[in-house]
Structure formats: structure tokens, C-alpha cells
């Protein structure tokens, strides 16, 4: 199963179902399920949900390399968002523009290896595809006061004319960072690093206090 002869080593990092391995998202220790059972979404201005255990892949390739971009899009079966700060969503696959030569994709963790293998098969040239599934998690936020809460947290203009649905920014979130995407008029999604997840969770609880916070699980 080792793949040492290739120029780039990839590995199916997800245990097979029969191995009976439980996966733990970065907020596992918080016990969101328990909290969820005690909060009422109707009453809350901010509703929080962790989309844990997703597959996260970072694609690095120059946007100027038309051939490779084309191949990548064929493999993905979706267009790469080439214009800055944009994103593409297609079924379970979300592709976020991070920089002119970088995209962050999320998809089911079980599909990651297949996609990596496809890339290695089809892509020939200078690119990299890196699995970051263990190091990232997604916080989905919605509610009437989500924008107000985010205004306390990130130094970015969230007015709908400046930050329409689908826009993605990488920015500072309090004293760490996050990739922020608007998924609806009052819905946002944060991609955050595992080791900072607890801090951001604490921050969101505090910043949402005056609006009421509910958790979904």
C-alpha cells in the first residue's frame, strides 16, 4: 500500500469502516450535541453548527497555467473560481479562491483519496494537492444577527453590496485567522484551524451573548 515510487506520496488517511475507528472533530471535547439539546434556534440571533470531519484539500497551481487549470477542472468536474475572492459550490464540493495560485476545497472525507489519485493520474506539471482534513474544520453560522456578531470578529466590510453570497475572504478572526464565505443572506461559513477551533468557539459564544446563541448538531 505504500506509494514510495511516485514523485509525490499520497495516502488514504481514512480508516476503513470495519476498523471501528471513531473520528473526532476539533470541537469534539466541547460536547456540542449536549449543548444543542439545551438551546432553541428560534430564540437565537446566531445559530452555530460545526461541520466536522470533512475532507479538506488545498490545490496549488498557477492560474496562468491554462492547461493544468483545464485538467484540474475536468478532474474536479467543476470550474475553478479564477476571479479573486470567489467560490464555486457543486453538490458536496466547495472550492474557495485563496490566492492566485491556491484553492481550498471541501468534500466528504471519504472522497479525498479518490480525488488525490485522480489528480496524480491526470495532472502532469507543477502543482500540489495537499490533504489538510485533520487540521481544518468548518463552522456554519446563520441567524438574523450573524453579521453583527462577525462585525465584532473580523475587520472586513460585510455589507451585502461589498460581501455578496459566494464571496470568500481569508482574514484575521479575533487573534487568529479564518477563511470566511457568505453562504446566504444571513449565513456564513468559517474554515478554521484545528488548534484554534476552541478559541474561536469561545469567542463566538462571547460575541453572540447579546443576541442569543443556539447550537445545532
Amino acid at each position: 500500500m505504500s506509494d514510495i515510487n511516485h514523485a509525490v506520496a499520497i495516502m488514504d488517511q481514512v480508516p476503513s469502516a470495519d476498523a471501528e475507528v471513531r473520528g473526532e472533530s476539533p470541537l469534539h471535547h466541547v460536547g456540542l450535541a449536549a449543548i444543542a439539546s439545551q438551546t432553541l434556534p428560534q430564540a437565537a440571533g446566531v445559530i452555530f453548527r460545526e461541520l466536522g470531519l470533512l475532507g479538506h484539500l488545498t490545490l496549488r497551481v498557477s492560474a496562468d497555467n491554462a492547461a493544468l487549470i483545464k485538467t484540474a477542472q475536468t478532474v474536479l468536474g467543476a470550474p475553478l473560481p479564477l476571479s479573486p475572492l470567489s467560490s464555486v459550490q457543486q453538490g458536496d464540493l466547495v472550492i474557495r479562491w485563496i490566492s492566485p495560485d491556491e484553492w481550498l476545497m471541501t468534500l466528504p472525507n471519504t472522497q479525498v483519496f479518490e480525488l488525490e489519485s485522480q489528480f496524480r493520474e491526470k495532472m502532469d506539471g507543477h502543482y500540489s494537492l495537499v490533504n489538510g482534513s485533520g487540521g481544518l474544520t468548518v463552522f456554519a453560522l446563520r441567524g438574523a444577527r450573524v453579521v453583527d456578531m462577525l462585525k465584532k470578529s473580523i475587520p472586513v466590510d460585510l455589507h451585502d453590496t461589498e460581501f455578496p453570497v459566494g464571496k470568500v475572504v481569508s482574514t484575521v478572526f479575533a487573534k487568529t485567522g479564518a477563511v470566511v464565505r457568505r453562504t446566504g443572506e444571513t449565513e456564513f461559513e468559517l474554515v478554521v484551524r484545528r488548534s484554534f477551533a476552541d478559541y474561536i468557539w469561545l469567542w463566538i459564544q462571547s460575541a453572540s451573548q447579546e443576541y442569543g446563541l443556539a447550537v445545532e448538531h
Binding site: 479573486p84 475572492l85 485563496i98 490566492s99 492566485p100 491556491e102 475587520p155 472586513v156 475572504v169 481569508s170 482574514t171 484575521v172 485567522g177
Partner: protein, 97 residues
């Protein structure tokens, strides 16, 4: 606090997302061994530090993580121009005779 246009993200962002990396356009000598201690020291440490127009290197470290150049007045703090790595500034300080 500065409002800086990132030439890669193509919009203005807050200074908090960026880091200043000092004077721009200081290429690493191609053959360091050929440098005298003096030349190496000059390259490493000695800076223009102008009062006025300054070409400096910034990185959008909390954003796209790209390095780019900024031409800024170090007295008024006006940003006159931003340009990508490898590009030349169109606004330059007049050379004092």
C-alpha cells in the same frame, strides 16, 4: 491605521491583515562569496530609511499570503502605489543632486 490595496486579492483590506517587511528591491547577491564583509553587511543591514517616498515590501499574511511592493510617503503615510513582485514602481522619489 492603513487601508491597503492588495494587488492579488484586488481590494482594500485593513492593515491588521498585513505585515511590513521593510525596504523593497534588495536583491540577494548572486554570488555571496564574492562579497566583502562590507558589501555583505551593507546588503544585510544598511537601509535608505527615507523621510518621504519609500518603496517597501509588505505581505498579506492573513489573506492571500502574497508579498508585494508599496510606495508610501513615510511622513504623510499616503500610499501612492502598490505593485506586484517583479514589477517596477511608476512613482519614484526625485534623486537629490
Amino acid at each position: 491605521m492603513f487601508h491597503i490595496y492588495c494587488p492579488y486579492c484586488c481590494e482594500y483590506r485593513e492593515e491588521e491583515e498585513f505585515h511590513s517587511k521593510g525596504q523593497a528591491h534588495i536583491p540577494r547577491p548572486l554570488n555571496p562569496e564574492a562579497c566583502s564583509d562590507e558589501e555583505w553587511g551593507n546588503n544585510l543591514y544598511f537601509r535608505k530609511n527615507p523621510r518621504g517616498l519609500h518603496h517597501e515590501l509588505w505581505v498579506h499574511n492573513a489573506g492571500c499570503r502574497k508579498f508585494f511592493n508599496v510606495t508610501r510617503d513615510t511622513v504623510t503615510y499616503e500610499i501612492k502605489e502598490v505593485y506586484k513582485m517583479g514589477e517596477k514602481p511608476s512613482i519614484v522619489a526625485e534623486i537629490k543632486a
